[in-house]
Amino acid sequence: MSNTISIEPQIDSAIFLDNVSIRYQLPNEVIRTFKEYMIKRVQGHIRHNTFWALKQINLDIKQGEIFGIVGRNGAGKSTLLKVISKVLIPAEGRVWVKGYISPLLQVGAGFHTELTGKENIYLNGTLLGHSQNEIEEKLDEIIAFAEVGEFIEAPLRTYSSGMYARLGFAVASAWQPDILIIDEVLSVGDLAFQEKCYERIASFRNSGATVLIVSLSIDQIRSLCQHTLWLDHGEVRMMGKTESVCDAYQDSFEKKK
């Protein structure tokens, strides 16, 4: 991150956001059915309130950087991650992202319980945008990492919840990402497996991936990140050196007391 935000992504940029806003149109009453909508429409009762989940965000994260995002619940942290990973397309502003992003997929989402572990690796791998060939190359590694043994040929409904989660993580992390998103504290499987997960994440980091860390734990951000963004009600409250941003963020809590 540099202090002056440029208007174009630079040669060493990994993530670049120019004036990005995300706006939700919330109806003043919740309308969930077509019937209700038609009735309200005829009565002329439909009004929308605009809710800005993100407001004019400018960002330039460089390749290889470890970047932290702090903010309270509902500050727009998850929304920002969704914008970066192309899930939410902003109506205003420009998003530019270079390289493969580690998926935000909830572990095990998209699995089918009637299919075998192996079949699910293919299904889940293609959901993440990989080709059959790419999955084939990684297949043995995924099976070994997931530690499911002979269960790999059994339908997923016979799996324990631990095996289920391990297989999910093994597929999701099989490919070295250019941009690694760490969204939550890892809680997959037992302690030994968590250790393995952390090792894998560390190896991604060491091989030069850009890392985005979203965490409620300030200490974690302080110890890992060079630069940090403080989001508040969808707006950039502060951005810069981790130490000063984190100090200011923690001060804001002190004042409340």
């Binding site: 909508y37 998003v95 998926p103 009637e114 299904l123 959901l127 070295q176």
Partner: protein, 274 residues
């Protein structure tokens, strides 16, 4: 590792309807996996397995023939008429209905990762097409048993499949778009389908519909063109007139293009709706 570094730039996007085509090509292995899942998973726990894809329609068809031949015994070659009608209608109604539930299933994924938005609807329709093709085997079997001749014009059926596929996909995309914004459409649609079936020449003889509004009811019904062409090829056994081809092509491709554009232009906002 990927050889080429992908760059996603929201400022350099093509029209969503075009962009979707490129995305689908990139995710073509996903479509294959989803179709495979739909077909394999459905019958996986049964002893007879994939054989059910043929036994299921066979049973339905036998019941149809036995029941309705009693009701409309006066109509000539009624068994063949109702079989050909029902098989097309079943493919259309089931596939469009199932694509609604596949969108519900997929919506949890749309909130987490990027996928081509048409993947789930497209794969559902493709899986139904595979089932339709497989159910042509028991249809042929019943034709032989009930002494309906097999015609050389049946060789043209692959062209017909393109029309049926396009039409079903178009309708599925349209109703899925509406269902994202109004979930109760999923409950409303089966009712609509029932009405549509009785307005189409599926079970009741064609003459019945010809009398209504001088046949206008038939001509404004897109389903008529699809059932009609299938019956000509599979039952009547002559090469259809060029106008028949053109009308069916126009209806099915027209619906597909409209559905595709409507769906794709709204697809960006799907993730905004819970």
């Amino acid at each position: 590792m990927k050889n080429t570094t992908m760059i996603y730039d929201s400022a350099k996007r093509k029209h969503p309807a075009i962009e979707e085509l490129f995305a689908l090509y990139q995710y073509r292995d996903l479509i294959y996996q989803l179709v495979r899942r739909d077909i394999v998973a459905r019958y996986k726990r049964s002893i007879l397995g994939v054989a059910w894809t043929m036994l299921n329609p066979l049973g339905t068809m036998l019941i149809m023939v036995i029941v309705f031949s009693q009701v409309f015994s006066a109509t000539e070659n009624y068994a063949g008429y109702v079989l050909t009608g029902v098989i097309v209608w079943t493919m259309f109604s089931q596939s469009t209905n199932m694509s609604l539930s596949s969108m519900v299933w997929g919506s949890q994924l749309f909130h987490q990762i990027y996928l081509p938005r048409t993947s789930f609807v497209l794969s559902t329709i493709l899986a139904s097409m595979v089932n339709f093709i497989l159910s042509l085997v028991p249809l042929g079997f019943i034709f032989i048993v009930t002494r309906i001749p097999l015609r050389p014009s049946m060789l043209l059926l692959p062209i017909y499949l393109i029309f049926l596929f396009s039409f079903s996909l178009g309708v599925a995309l349209l109703i899925s778009t509406i269902a994202v914004f109004f979930p109760d459409v999923a409950d409303l649609y089966p009712v609509l389908l029932t009405a549509w079936m009785y307005l189409s020449p599926i079970i009741m003889p064609l003459d019945f519909y010809r009398k209504i509004l001088n046949g206008l009811l038939l001509y404004i019904n897109p389903m008529y063109y699809l059932v009609n062409l299938f019956r000509i090829l599979a039952l009547d056994g002559f090469i259809p007139h060029i106008q028949t081809w053109a009308a069916t092509a126009l209806v099915s491709f027209g619906v597909l293009i409209i559905g595709w554009f409507v769906f794709c232009s709204k697809a960006d906002t799907f993730a905004y709706h819970v």
